[in-house]
């Protein structure tokens, strides 16, 4: 079929152009028979591709489909925020990009003093953004978990500001093509730095409150589906529980075995309850009595700190518009609690 079509095409062209047949420079490829070499040829191409590896990822600007100004405009609009154009541009510039550009100019023999590059990296903005985010997250967590210890608040804050969380956010807000880094795709650290710099740029473009709302809407929801008690590792839960109960003037925790089952087997189960002043304050199962007791202490702490699974959800979205945060207030820390209990032991409860 291909052969006939080619022949017909050739004759059509010759008729159309009204030229003598010999002068027409058309060379159709004829395949009159089964192409025996084709399979081997394709196989060779395939092997060569395997050897050469995949095509390196290229920035869309190299493919000719890129409008940097339009992308920057859309980036701000996507979040419903008004950015200062120059600040937003600066938020994406990495330090290594500037070094690379300067070296490129030096190689070309362009004097950097007479023709300055005019680029500022995003590290100042990132520092500012990190400060704002960190301050707001701590205040928000203290507002949401007023009975949790300061150490726990710091642990949850560290999770939200961790490499892993910020990288997840950075990779999902469309920074990949916008980051100006020496290499493409940009390294992980560039995503984190740029995300922080975007917060900083927003604070400078508008105000700090606006940047804080941005933090609340983007970073805080990453806590959803996470157990905050798992994020904070308590080394000695029973010791902490004793100190807590003592500071409240309640009796010390007394463990009691509530239930046990299959004791002599590998599937053994012990259910331990903790009582203070004959009142059940926490209970938990475990493989051994010791584990169950420790888990019961953790359960009791959860109840005392009001961080159980049945707690109220975080105030976010439309409800969170009216909340007023106190940035200076700090939750009680374990160190304060231990100091209190030591003082009580030394001087009695009257003081």
């Amino acid at each position: 079929m291909a052969t006939i079509r080619c022949m017909r095409l050739m004759h059509c062209m010759q008729n159309l152009l009204l030229l003598p047949r010999k002068t027409v420079n058309i060379c159709p490829v004829f395949h009159r028979s089964y192409r025996r070499g084709l399979r081997r040829y394709l196989k060779e191409l395939y092997q060569r591709r395997l050897k050469a590896g995949p095509e390196p990822e290229r920035h869309p600007s190299q493919l000719g489909i890129w409008n940097h100004d339009a992308e920057l405009f859309a980036f701000g609009k996507r979040f419903g925020e008004e950015f200062d154009e120059n600040l937003l541009k600066r938020a994406f510039v990495q330090r290594n990009y500037i070094i690379k550009e300067e070296n490129k100019r030096k190689e070309l023999g362009i004097d950097l003093i007479t023709v300055p590059l005019g680029l500022v990296d995003n590290e100042d903005l990132a520092r500012k953004g990190e400060e704002i985010a960190s301050r707001y997250i701590k205040a928000y967590l203290r507002y949401s978990y007023p009975h949790m210890f300061e150490e726990g608040i710091c642990a949850v804050h560290d999770f939200l500001m961790s490499h892993q969380t910020l990288l997840h956010i950075g990779m999902n807000i469309g920074l990949r093509e916008l980051i100006m880094s020496a290499e493409y795709p940009p390294p992980e650290q560039a995503y984190i730095l740029t995300f922080k710099a975007v917060i900083g740029a927003l604070a400078v473009s508008q105000n700090v409150e606006r940047a804080e709302v941005f933090v609340k809407d983007i970073i805080i929801p990453q806590l959803i589906g996470k157990d905050i008690n798992e994020l904070w590792e308590i080394v000695n839960p029973m010791g902490l529980l004793k100190a807590m109960l003592a500071s409240e003037g309640r009796g010390p925790p007394e463990p009691r075995l509530l239930w046990h089952s299959a004791s002599a087997t590998v599937m053994s189960l012990y259910h331990v309850g903790l009582y203070s002043d004959k009142e059940l304050i926490g209970k938990s199962p475990g493989e051994t009595v010791t584990i169950a007791e420790e888990m019961a202490a953790r359960n009791a702490l959860k109840h005392l700190m009001q961080t159980t699974d049945s707690r109220a959800p975080l105030t976010l979205g439309a409800k969170a518009v009216k909340i007023k945060l106190d940035y200076d207030k700090k939750n009680r820390s374990i160190r304060d609690l231990l100091n209190e209990t030591v003082e009580e032991r030394l001087y009695g409860t009257e003081i």
Partner: protein, 175 residues
């Protein structure tokens, strides 16, 4: 192809979108079309009539137009998470193209797979999962073990009882 081989997943929300604020996940659309070919007729009409309005109402989406001579038209979409989707829109009317663009705009950028459940939760129960001791009262722990064990009662006489009865009758006769 069995249902086990088809990729499946649970309903997902990218980055908890919409809980704080809604961010449209579609970031870039390249409309590839031919300026002369008939299959791009509807796409060209779409560009003439609807594209500006669409771009104005969605400032967060960057629109690129890419004339490709003698090629079928495509909508090439890129999402915030890096996922790329291409919709062939050859021979479609301008309204159909607009509908496809609407579908692309509403998506999260997560690949379409078979959903195992139409809902998903990370916390199946906020009260804690059920266990055999859940509603048992601990007070029954302190109950003493009954001294007299319950015995099986049959309406028929047992062999022991029968022998005892015979013995008693024998004793009566001897007395």
């Amino acid at each position: 192809m069995g249902s086990r081989l088809i990729p499946s997943n649970f309903v997902k929300n990218v980055m908890q979108n919409g809980i704080g604020r809604y961010i449209c996940q579609l970031q870039r659309v390249t409309i590839e079309f031919c300026k002369s070919n008939g299959s791009s007729r509807g796409t060209r009409d779409f560009i003439e009539n609807y594209l500006l309005d669409f771009a104005k109402s969605n400032p967060g989406i960057v629109m690129y137009l890419r004339p490709r001579r003698h090629k079928h038209p495509h909508l090439r979409a890129e999402y915030l998470n890096g996922y790329k989707e291409s919709i062939p829109v050859a021979n479609m009317s301008k309204d159909e193209v607009a509908q496809w663009l609407g579908i692309l705009r509403g998506r999260t950028g997560v690949q379409i797979v078979r959903l195992r459940k139409p809902w998903h939760t990370d916390n199946p129960s906020i009260q804690g999962i059920w266990h055999p001791f859940m509603f048992k009262d601990p007070s029954i722990n302190s109950k003493p073990f009954p001294k007299k064990l319950p015995a099986y009662k049959s309406d028929k006489m047992s062999a022991t009882e029968y022998v005892l009865q015979l013995k008693q009758e024998q004793l009566k006769i001897t007395n």
